[in-house]
């Protein structure tokens, strides 16, 4: 079995859950004997760079010393495409990022859904054109390689998947890690929605990361339910050691960690914090992350008069994330819409009890977590208070939470994905 896979990012260049998920999945697939050609967009930082380059194991900045890693790279062919498609980019952000670049729009003649492809090393003037350009490159790669199934991750690579399917006639699997409704609520970007829907219609099978997402695909995109399958993500649990870090404050700490955007529900966290702080002086709240709602949150905290107990850290990564978990007593993920949600699993691995919204895919598979509706700030506050005051609860979470997370293996997910491939060939 050989698969042409279109991803977004790959370690160590990771900005979000999708890169981690692709890495976990491809590794587990390789151990099941699945071979992959993995294609990722990457801005080369050199305008004269070739439009794509093939990289082998030694070029990738991941440790390759273990046997398992060697095996992995034997099964994996890795292609980087020079592109401005960067993860979590929306059309507006793209134009802001690249507006100063001189663009020669004359050169861009190709369209995604026509059969006429031409080529240029230029970037697209806007994200939609860039996605089209990427699809053209994808079709070229598809013509040059042999494979049995095409697998695309999230909307930026759906056109690439469609184009590859058109030139090769091979079946297409699309993997929905998030939809436009998760990112934008009801105020969706119509262009993005259209691309997502075209991908779903063209796909022979659709993999969703939770039943929550499966339902959105079926109901909001009008896709026939018999080709949509849920495969839960796995978790890579390394040897987590408690970082050598102690808290500087005596109070208990309740943490929000994630992008401060509509999707993540930071406003509900602030309101719940206010309720708790008014009742219990012995607690502090931390909002870690950045995003377009950050300034609004800071203003709201100031207006509520709780700024002495509510802290913002900005964007955290790497060791700082681990440090944050190490000093947290409760982790809250109040997402309005979360297709899966990996961060509570990271918290549980660090022995931090979690409160998660019922509107998250991960709530479908976790037992040892408190589940609430994201809008129910009373219940959120009550659960926070309970975790801070009733010791039996924390003991219970520490005892079972981590081992529950350790059960969520990528091997199970890869097995299901392979079954889906096999149903197509």
């Amino acid at each position: 079995m050989k698969v042409l896979m279109f991803g977004w990012e790959f370690p160590p260049h990771i900005t979000g859950g999708l890169g981690t998920a692709c890495y976990g999945l491809t590794r587990a697939l390789s151990s099941l004997g699945v071979e992959m050609i993995f294609v990722v967009p990457r801005l080369f930082g050199d305008e004269n760079a070739p439009f794509m380059r093939l990289r082998n194991a030694s070029d990738i900045e991941i440790a390759t010393d273990t046997e398992e890693q060697k095996l992995f790279w034997e099964k994996m062919q890795y292609i980087e495409v020079n592109s401005r498609i960067i993860p979590y980019l929306d059309p507006e952000l793209y134009s802001r990022l690249f507006e100063n670049t001189l663009l020669n729009t004359e050169d861009i003649k190709y369209r995604i859904f026509s059969k006429k492809f031409s080529f240029s090393g230029e970037y697209g003037p806007n994200l939609m054109e860039e996605v089209s350009r990427y699809a053209v490159i994808a079709s070229a790669i598809a013509l040059q390689n042999n494979f049995e199934v095409i697998h695309s991750h999230d909307w930026l690579t759906y056109p690439a998947g469609i184009a590859a399917k058109e030139v090769s006639g091979k079946p297409l699997v699309i993997h929905v890690h998030a939809t436009e409704f998760d990112r934008s609520g009801e105020n969706i970007n119509q262009n993005v929605y259209d691309i997502e829907r075209k991908g779903m219609l063209a796909a022979d099978r659709i993999i969703t990361v939770s039943n929550l997402t499966r339902k959105i695909v079926i109901e909001k995109y009008g896709i026939s339910e018999d080709k949509v399958f849920t495969v839960y993500n796995g978790v890579q649990t390394g040897n987590f050691s408690e970082p050598d870090f102690t808290r500087g404050v005596s109070e208990k700490i309740v943490t929000f960690l994630g992008r401060i955007t509509y999707q993540k529900g930071p406003d509900y966290f602030v309101e719940a914090a206010n309720l708790v702080i008014n009742k219990d002086p012995n607690v502090r709240f931390v909002m870690a992350g950045s995003g377009d709602m950050l300034t609004r949150m800071i203003k709201r905290v100031a207006k509520l008069g709780i700024a002495d107990k509510f802290h913002f850290t900005g964007f955290l990564k790497g060791a700082d994330v681990h440090r944050m978990f190490a000093i947290s007593d409760v982790y809250v993920m109040p997402s309005v819409s979360e297709p899966f949600g990996i961060s509570p699993l990271e918290a549980m691995t660090a022995n931090v009890p979690v409160i998660i919204s019922k509107q998250s895919g991960v709530s479908e598979i976790l037992n040892h977590a408190i589940k609430i509706d994201f809008w129910d700030i009373d219940e959120m506050a009550d659960s926070i208070y309970g975790l801070l005051h009733y010791e039996g609860l924390t003991t219970m979470f520490k005892k079972y939470g981590r081992s529950e997370v350790e059960q969520l293996k990528w091997d199970h997910a890869a097995f299901r994905v392979k079954e889906i491939y096999e149903s197509l060939v």
Binding site: L275, K279, N367, A369, I370, K371, D378, E379, A381, D382, S383, Y385, G386, H389, Y390, E391, G392, L393, T395, M396, K399, Y400
Partner: protein
């Protein structure tokens, strides 16, 4: 001739309302009157009223040859008083036939026997007082919450003057012995012990409507065949179950009422069986031997132990916090405080905290008002926190 002993447990807890931490120190009312009333009315219409009528008719029809027994928890009797006096009246009509025995238990359907002999005895006194008041008879047989029994609990019950106690015929206690004999307590042999035949009881209580069961549908004929297949020397078949089996756990549409309507008459006509109540059996049969139960058993789950109510961190903390208050509560002499402390002892509150069934799902979600044991725990501890504040105020 063998004896069949029917015993039904009647219980409804006072469920707690959603009690948030904001309420601590402000709102001192903990109970969910609305759901307690609606659940009581629903179960009354589906189970208590039609089942009582069925048994009343059967007793009349069999001219006193059909006998049954009940235990009704004190908190259930109080809810009948409040929400379903019609049910209480129909139990009174059953009591008046002379063919129905009402059995003693704790007031709160509590686990007090495991923690405090004084509180255990006090609660039994309250419950038997309620039985006397409403049903006009003084119980002489005993059944502890969820059939929880051990040698030590049996001894306490014997000291209270009861002649017979009901419990589970747990395999790990019986070994090669049969539940179909009468036994006696290992410490005080004056207390007789009747053991539930769990296979035959659960055929009715759990499996009756299960279409995947190879014996489905269960008919009275078939059931009597099974009874006939037991060893000739065996003396008594104890069929113990939740009363809510009739019409609530097994809906009327499953034919459960028709089964119960047909079974007693067939059993009596076969000439091989008679029906007796626990105290009659205690007066008639001779104990086979002592039964040794060093560790408490119950009728719950595969394990037949206490793990449905106690053992995980949540349950143990809630249980300890509650019973640590015993002395303080009693010292107040405040009737309302003592009563509420007892209502918080109802075993259901601890049952909601059980995490055993994360793996096997739905059976236990029935009538469980909480999404998860965690939210049940937070709610219960919020209530206890407020209760402690009130208690401390009273002491000053």
């Amino acid at each position: 001739m063998k004896t069949i002993c029917f015993y039904f447990q009647v219980h409804q807890p006072f469920r707690l309302k959603r009690y948030r931490f904001f309420d601590i120190g402000h709102d001192h009312y903990y109970f969910d009157d609305y759901s307690n009333r609606t659940i009581m009315r629903k179960v009354a219409e589906k189970c208590y009223l039609p089942a009582n009528q069925l048994f009343l008719d059967l007793i009349h029809k069999m001219n006193g040859a059909f006998k049954i027994s009940y235990s009704i928890s004190g908190v259930a009797i109080e809810q009948f008083e409040k929400y379903a006096p019609d049910v209480m009246d129909s139990f009174k009509r059953l009591a008046d036939t002379g063919c129905v025995e009402f059995i003693a238990e704790t007031y709160a359907h509590s686990l007090a026997a495991l923690k405090s002999e004084e509180e255990f005895a006090a609660q039994v006194k309250i419950q038997t007082g309620l039985v006397e008041k409403h049903l006009g008879m003084t119980p002489v047989s005993f059944r502890n919450t969820e059939l929880i029994y051990s040698d030590a609990i049996g001894e306490m019950v014997a000291n209270m003057g009861y002649k017979v106690m009901l419990t589970e015929g747990a395999k790990h206690v019986l070994g090669w012995k049969s539940p179909n004999f009468m036994y006696c307590n290992a410490i005080n042999p004056r207390l007789k012990v009747l053991l539930k035949n769990f296979r035959l009881s659960d055929d009715i209580a759990f499996r009756f409507s299960n279409k995947a069961w190879e014996e489905w549908p269960l008919t009275a004929d078939k059931y009597i065949d099974w009874l006939n297949s037991s060893d000739d020397k065996e003396e008594v078949i104890n069929l113990f179950m939740d009363y809510e089996t009739f019409g609530e756990h097994q809906w009327a549409e499953t034919g459960i009422f028709d089964f119960m309507k047909a079974f007693p008459e067939m059993a009596l006509h076969s000439g091989n069986y008679k029906f007796m109540t626990p105290s009659e059996i205690a007066d008639t049969l001779t104990p086979m031997s002592a039964i040794h139960v060093p560790y408490p058993i119950s009728w719950a789950d595969e394990e037949r132990d206490l793990t449905a109510w106690l053992g995980n961190e949540l349950q143990d903390e809630a249980f300890k916090k509650l019973y640590d208050l015993e002395e303080k509560v009693k010292a107040t002499g405040n009737e309302q405080i003592i009563k509420e402390w007892r209502m918080l002892q109802t075993s259901d509150h601890f049952y909601y905290l059980c995490t055993k069934w994360f793996s096997d799902g739905d059976v236990h979600k029935y009538f469980n008002p909480y999404d998860s044991p965690y939210s049940a725990f937070i709610n219960y501890m919020n209530v206890i926190s407020d209760f402690i504040i009130r208690l401390n105020k009273l002491q000053k």
